[in-house]
């Protein structure tokens, strides 16, 4: 299936990327080629084959229900580009 410019624009919003004009053009072509290549998977008969999500299938790994100390707030905030002593700061969400 051919990838269109509209697909690229839509996916760039889903992926929270802002692409330049040139990037949109290049990616439309490049993603088109890559998707055309991976389309060969459609020729494989996978009827009745269960999807394999992990290479070594372990399931239901539970941690014991213990209270442990978590990362101190100060450390959790230390790498934030913008924060006050209590939390992360972001641009206005409403009315912005």
């Amino acid at each position: 299936m051919a990838i269109t410019r509209a697909d690229v624009e839509k996916v760039s919003l889903l992926a929270r990327l802002q692409l330049s004009e040139t990037e949109i053009e290049t990616l439309t072509v490049e993603l088109g080629k890559i998707v055309a290549y991976v389309d060969q998977l459609s020729e494989v008969d996978t009827d009745g084959v269960a999807p394999m999500a992990h290479a070594v299938e372990v399931s239901n790994v539970f941690a014991s229900d213990e209270v442990k100390t978590s990362l101190p707030r100060e450390q959790a905030l230390a790498n934030a580009p913008s924060h006050n002593p209590r939390g992360y700061l972001v641009p206005p969400v409403l009315g912005g």
Binding site: Q18, L27, V35, Y37, V38, Q40, L41, P51, A63, N79
Partner: protein, 519 residues
């Protein structure tokens, strides 16, 4: 013989006998880094004072007869993707250029507990996406055998620093070949363990069902030593395997009796370089001379491995990299410029009376995410996020992601059937020796196809190793890949060691000529 020519195992003996101190050894490597790394570019960050301090501390404790760790005093380089709270963890990305992890990855914690001297952080493709280290947003790394060529990737710095004698051991990560391929192109040993063998806790995630940490070194014995230090169950990684880790170094010198070696028919198809093919076939003859039985096998779904990989890996990456939102850590776009840009767009749309476009205009928060991510990520990372987001988006999930997961099982079943008949599978690591810097820059798909022989091991979760098995006429290293069934690292090491003891390819070093060549 200079200290930097020794293997890690030899250095540990020198240290144990008191013939060399860790400070002397560490200084020798730091000297080599100081003279050579300006040209090679393997390291993103080296802190000589901190390394020498660690070394002096180990020397002091050794002298005092105190308990010391398994790698006590030995310099180890770490790929800049494993969190270390004592330094930056950048993933070679502008996104994380000043990120300081608040905790250690389990791998780094184990290295510290083993008293290794952490000598520096190695360069890589941004977020481990790439096969040449050209996608690093900070610097190029050059192949020590020919500085016009790439070292491979994504663990290019990890392989180049070992090849150039700037570290005896280094830790890399392998999602689709990122340890084995650069090891092959740089003429060193590189090993990817079974998925889940080594904890991924504190490893910055690329594709979580494929990522695995592993060793790079000058000999299989050194790789075994490093793996047995790093491997083991970790409650902090739910996918880490709760199985005992054998002492690989204890058994590695025992050759495999009656070894059944599998050769994959599909590996020798069109596209394989003649010199690479000749070296690999010669290596197989070496095994025959050592008593191995060679059997041709078929992995019928292996031709779909790259397509399967380039659906699964980008899908997982697009999900994993959603965390870089410019809020919690990492790069954030300039606030004033952002608000100005949005105001200007709004004004323009209002003037044009375009109500639909006005309704669709990003909120300031969404635009902040989009601008921060677009400024922080390089082009390959964006390409993969887009590819993954597309494959996972409504209407395409079944056709791409789900389909790829099913083919993944078929690929694994091929291996399971093959390992009924053989103990190890031997073949090339890459179809060509190292390519020229810039050669593949404009063709992402061609670059993806470089992973042809390595991605299957990640999809199937198998352990694989790349060992030196020859050189092209122009003097570029060629690697032999061996693969084993899941958790059979011991067999893999013993099999690789047999070849290493019968040949001397692993003892070749980039010559003085190439060291002196200026750029």
């Amino acid at each position: 013989m200079s200290v930097v020519e020794h293997s890690a195992s030899e250095l540990l003996e020198l240290l144990a006998r008191g013939d060399a101190s860790s400070v002397e050894i560490t200084q020798a490597y730091l000297d080599r880094i100081a003279t050579d790394d300006k040209q090679i570019g393997a390291f993103l960050h080296v802190d000589p004072d901190a390394a020498l301090k660690q070394a002096a501390d180990v020397d002091r404790r050794r002298k005092a007869g105190k308990q010391i760790g398994k790698l006590a005093g030995l310099p180890v380089a770490v790929k800049d993707v494993l969190c270390d709270s004592d330094t930056l963890t950048t993933c070679a990305s502008q996104m994380l250029k000043s990120f300081r992890a608040p905790y250690n990855s389990t791998v780094v914690a184990k290295l510290k507990a083993a008293d290794a001297v952490l000598i520096g952080r190695t360069n890589m493709d941004e977020f481990a996406m790439g096969g040449s280290t050209e996608n690093s947003s900070f610097q190029l790394t050059r192949n020590p055998w020919d500085r016009d060529r790439v070292p491979g990737g994504s663990s290019g710095g990890a392989a180049a620093c070992v090849a150039a004698g700037m570290a005896p051991l280094s830790v890399g990560t392998d999602t689709g070949g990122s340890i084995r391929q650069p090891a092959g192109l740089c003429g060193v040993v590189g090993m990817k363990p079974t998925y889940g063998r080594v904890s991924r806790f504190g490893l910055v995630a690329f594709a979580s069902s494929l990522d695995q940490v592993g060793p790079l070194s000058r000999s299989t014995k050194d790789a075994a030593l490093l793996l047995e230090t790093l491997a083991g169950h970790d409650p902090q990684d739910a996918t880490s395997l709760d199985t005992e880790v054998p002492r690989y170094t204890a058994s590695i010198d025992q050759p495999l009796e009656g070894l059944r070696l599998g050769i994959v028919r599909e590996h020798f198809a069109e596209g394989l370089d003649k010199e690479v093919e000749a070296a690999v076939r010669e290596a197989i003859k070496v095994y025959e001379s050592l008593g191995a039985t060679v059997k041709e096998i078929s992995l019928p779904h292996s031709k779909y491995a790259v397509a399967t990989y380039y659906v699964i890996a980008p899908s997982e990456a697009s999900s994993n990299l959603a965390r870089y939102d410019g809020v919690h850590y990492g790069h954030r776009t300039d606030r004033a410029a952002l608000l100005e840009e949005l105001a200007a767009e709004r004004k323009q749309l209002e003037a044009a009376g375009d109500q639909a476009a006005l309704d669709a205009l990003d909120s300031s928060l969404v635009r902040m995410y989009r601008k921060s991510r677009s400024e922080g990520f390089g082009s390959e990372v964006k390409r993969r996020i887009m590819l993954g987001a597309y494959a996972l988006s409504a209407g395409y999930y079944d056709a791409y992601y789900l389909k790829a997961l099913k083919v993944r099982r078929l690929i694994r079943q091929d291996f399971d059937a093959a390992f009924e008949e053989v103990d190890l599978i031997a073949g090339p690591v890459t179809a060509q020796p190292a390519f020229k810097i810039g050669e593949m820059a404009d063709d992402p798909l061609a670059m993806y196809l470089v992973d042809l022989y390595t991605v299957s091991a990640n999809l199937a979760g198998l352990p694989g190793i790349s060992i030196p098995c020859g050189f092209s006429k122009s003097g570029l290293p060629i690697g032999l890949q061996l693969q084993a069934r899941p958790l059979a690292e011991e067999t893999l090491f013993r099999g690789a060691r047999m070849f290493e003891q019968a040949t001397d390819w692993h003892q070749r070093r980039p010559g003085a000529d190439s060291r002196a060549k200026k750029h």
